[in-house]
Symmetry: C2
Subunit: 747 residues, 2 copies
Amino acid sequence: MTEEGKDGRRGVSIGRRQRKNEGRLKATGAAMYADDLRLPRMLFAKTVRSTEPHARIVRIDFSEAKKLPGVIETLAGHELPERYGVIPWTQDEQALCVDKVRFVGDPVAAVAALDERTAEEACALVRVEYEKLPALMDPDEALARTDVLIHDERGANHQDNLTKRVQLAFGPVDEKLAQSASIAEADFFYEGSTHAPIEPHCALAQWDGVTLTVWSSTQIPHYVHRALSKVLGLSAARVRVIQPVVGGAFGGKSDPFSLEFCVAKLAMKTGRPVKMLYTREEVFYAHRGRHPMKMRYRVGLSKEGAIEAVDSKIVIDGGAYASFGLVTAYYAGQLLTGPYRFGTYRFDAARVYTNKPPCGPKRGHGSVQPRFAFECALDMAAEKLGIDPIEVRRRNFVGENTETVNGQWITSNGFMQCLESVERASGWRERRGKLGFGRGLGVAGSMYISGTAYPVYPNQMPQSGVVVKLDRSGRVTVYCGASDIGQGINTLLAQIPAEELGCDPEDVSVVAADTDLTPVDLGAYSSRVTYMCGLAAIEACRKLRAQLDEVSEATDPFALRVEKAEAKAGTTLVSSGAYRTQKLGADYRGGTIGASPAYSFSAHVAQVSVDAETGLWKVERIWAAHDCGKALNPTLVEGQIEGSVYMGAGEAQMEAHTVYPENGLLRAPNLLDYRIPTSLDTPEIDSLIVESNDPSGPYGAKEAGEGPLHPAIPAIANAIHDAVGVRLTRLPFSPGDILRALRERKC
Amino acid sequence: MTEEGKDGRRGVSIGRRQRKNEGRLKATGAAMYADDLRLPRMLFAKTVRSTEPHARIVRIDFSEAKKLPGVIETLAGHELPERYGVIPWTQDEQALCVDKVRFVGDPVAAVAALDERTAEEACALVRVEYEKLPALMDPDEALARTDVLIHDERGANHQDNLTKRVQLAFGPVDEKLAQSASIAEADFFYEGSTHAPIEPHCALAQWDGVTLTVWSSTQIPHYVHRALSKVLGLSAARVRVIQPVVGGAFGGKSDPFSLEFCVAKLAMKTGRPVKMLYTREEVFYAHRGRHPMKMRYRVGLSKEGAIEAVDSKIVIDGGAYASFGLVTAYYAGQLLTGPYRFGTYRFDAARVYTNKPPCGPKRGHGSVQPRFAFECALDMAAEKLGIDPIEVRRRNFVGENTETVNGQWITSNGFMQCLESVERASGWRERRGKLGFGRGLGVAGSMYISGTAYPVYPNQMPQSGVVVKLDRSGRVTVYCGASDIGQGINTLLAQIPAEELGCDPEDVSVVAADTDLTPVDLGAYSSRVTYMCGLAAIEACRKLRAQLDEVSEATDPFALRVEKAEAKAGTTLVSSGAYRTQKLGADYRGGTIGASPAYSFSAHVAQVSVDAETGLWKVERIWAAHDCGKALNPTLVEGQIEGSVYMGAGEAQMEAHTVYPENGLLRAPNLLDYRIPTSLDTPEIDSLIVESNDPSGPYGAKEAGEGPLHPAIPAIANAIHDAVGVRLTRLPFSPGDILRALRERKC
């Protein structure tokens, strides 16, 4: 980083509050989302979905549908039989079911028509004959039964309903547990929830006879690019994927989805552009939201409160397809081992197929549920020893430049400042235990990754590339494959050239997420974008900066500097930079799923009030401190903290994405019945930024988009316990649950 | 160039027939032209145009227009007073007239409304009060009168109606004329014509509060970028210009046009996107078509037929604004000095303002008219000596690697092969003079530029930049600022990476003409694009080729080669290349307007039949040979030759863009009255490609889009003379003119 002032306009953009550069377009309605796109002669497509949770497809009859005026084309699964999936080792999805359906809502057929209503009417006329199979609605049952296989196509080595089981142990767990002064042992259940993005999934395809172009509301254009190539049997060099402005994703647009393949194939069959927009109901069925988890934890503390042993057994209810589930099974165990030092650790996580809508990554993927369980168990164990919840967390601080029990290398670590920050801001010392019955404070901490060491498919190429071009007008264009799904990467990608080159950030044009226009970036998941694209952008800018410095002073007008450098170079000024995993240095211990180049840390204190008569309760306030390394744009970091806390608090309060076990229908497939917090349900949130200036991150930055979600739920649970003395172990915490617990305690 | 076969798929794309890569989209209706674009909340704007050829604006009253429901905003000239023009030294236009109007159709005001019809109705309600001024309709009168100044704002140094006068002499012209064995001396008149593109001018602007984006049907996005910045008072770093697919231009979209500024300002005033589409009538008034020229030529030959002296005086009827007129005045003289050696040469060209729609560049800009006059005069002089028309041209061949009389350096020169080619193909030797009265053959030759040595505004930067990016899928993206206006540069920009890198040309994505996405290219004019962008693209590709060759064999699959090279480089593979004027080598004699790095050459033989009873005549066939250096894609070259011959023949046969002198109204401001040849009016065309393999051009290529237009008109005139013995010197050659000439000859 340059020193401020000395160097023209350089070095003043990073760390400044700047509004999102696409904010105006969104606020004025000018932003073009996928469904705003129109192409000449465009058709509209709709999906026929399974009405059975588990069944063989006997026959699909399109004859009545084809008779409807305005119907142009139909599509069945056998036309796109190639299996795909975001994880190379669990390719278990098909664009449309071929032999069997695995959940109510599984896509079975598609119809393209002149307008959306006709397509919808035609779908109702498609007759699908099913032969019912036993439906497995509970993951324990699915684990136990081998006579019913949801994915019977997986062959002799997979005569079960496991997506993935991960069993890892670090140190003599049983021995340490036996020696512990205090052991907490409990069962926890984390209910499933869904992302509920404002924008439904939408895709539009155009086929010009040579190249397929797909616009999709996705957060992984690069993987969609690869999946389209595979499923459609087209060279990837003939496929272009463009992500328009996205209206919310939260992990719910991290898989290739049926509609992307269907519009592509229908466009190729008809020679016309084809669009499909999911209804809100379809979004709920397609979702890939938070996995329900059944978790058993044992946490043993020494009499000084040191964490001697953690042992967990987790059954993950995956729904009908794998999605990121293999990773979920790892994350459920691997990401728990900070911010505290674990003496020993063991986990056994099984991700199980059931005949329900498939789960996948939702903000805080895989580790939100275990974090809830562990942070509650930690409180329980500490309570027996009479150690204050903040104090027990402080005593177990893992530190920085250190290795976790499971071999992850932690660089910077601002957790202690986070803890002190929420302790101070909440008035913990003065107020805890003094708020009277029915009101309480709870604390929790957490750690999260800043991207993953592994690319999702093994390769030696950079995980993220950024190209920067300078125009003689002084305009700077940044080409980046990453998806801005609201987190603000496009704004950061304007700040970085401003910081490095001295241009005005508003003179930067960010071209994002278009496989033709932009370099490869793996996508917006695992909180990797700011970290990896940021480093790539800095590298690209510094090459250009050297060219500018060769011919002019940093204080010259920027456009003039570009002109001189372009004249000197005799060619357009363009450069690329990248994030390369393998160059993190000797300290890097990557190599396990869950390992990250840098970890963020959070601590929350929640304050709740509980009416012991009715069980009605509310989260009054959450103090959320987050170590994001360096806040490149504090406004965006605060926005991420607030959004995370909001989402976490919502899961604690009311969210539940569940099916009726008798028929596989969702209980709440719409935004009226699926309850998410309104502004009235949302607590006051204090976003407290802690800067640890990570040595590896871009200007010291780490992630901020997912980490701050984690502690909200256990902090609330611990606060409820503090308020009324009951320990809730099942999410969401309904007034009925509280009343029941209070009653049980009284018995 | 690489040898075929030896080097994988390299070296096999250039020279092959390949169809235009945007052809499918155009043919299926999927191509998105400017008027196909729709943005949320978009308004439609229309222009109020002058009804007077020359008048002061006394008052503009919008009050009635503003009352019309649906009218959102109005715009008057005083809001955009800054003058602009494509040539830096003749900035004489304003987006909307401020003080006075200079031709019927001059834009005076604009209205934005919810729909196009309302905007049109509102325009009719805008009251403009004029104070009439004398209108100058004839260039000679305009030259003579200094009491009426069309551009009175130009100050004390411009007390005349001259846009530009160029007088240059090379050698003792009068002395050589006096010594000549044969002198032809005649007056010629070349009527004005217009481009008549299928797509009318259209522009759409969006203002997000920071950046202005303008989509425009232009062939000069870079100059529009600069002009918008100047006129709107915005930093060029806050302006983005995008050229969508263009439906024909031919030079008629080479100026910044009023609508581009009006939609921009209206978008900024309203905060909403604003679109304007010219009606067909407006296209005729706005045009910038072929200048009418009055030309007097004296051509003196030695008794052997050598061109001893050429003397010309040219009055160019410019219309109301300069447009490219300064260049027109140079081109009218400078571009005549090949393919023949001139002993001495003098020209005096005056480009004059008149109160008519402004003229500018049309295919073959500036030199089509003098070429007609000179090639007729050459025939006339040779006839007196009894020298065959082809023979006199052969004897005067200027040669290659030589300098013209006016100091232009000619590299390759395939004119002799062109001449032989049409002589052979037309059966000239066997058939000329043997077709009977009423049928004849005529020949003509010409030379044209492959781009200009000068950029239009003086600067040291490249005239053209190309960026190439390689994706690990094997897809190649070429970013180029040049405009594909139908000539096929986007197709060549796919062939070049295929040639250099060995990819499939259909795996190349060409991103064109977007000032944010693409490097600067000066635009599609002066036949510069293939030459300059081609060289830039080769340079960019060869840098990448070196990276691929470092890690793999040319015969490896292309995507694998990219993967390996990306892994080795550790970053996205991207490079830029450029065309730099100054590095053409020691032989280059640039420095005068009209100088080019390489010249194309053409020869045509036309066959006509004339009915001496009625004067009705037709062009039966044209053999057109063109030296394009190297035909990078023979199909495209033939298309350019055919299009040129068609357009030239049309100008000879029927085209006339003229006004009623009494009121300044166009005689034919629509495609019914303005006559252009239909397929029935079009002669059989034999496109004969001659390859001289220019040492400086990309793979040896020179221009092909404008040169082959030139000889068509004089070849036809000479053929009419051969058929019926009359010499027509005024275009177009109407049956009435022929009858009159035949009658005069009989007298």
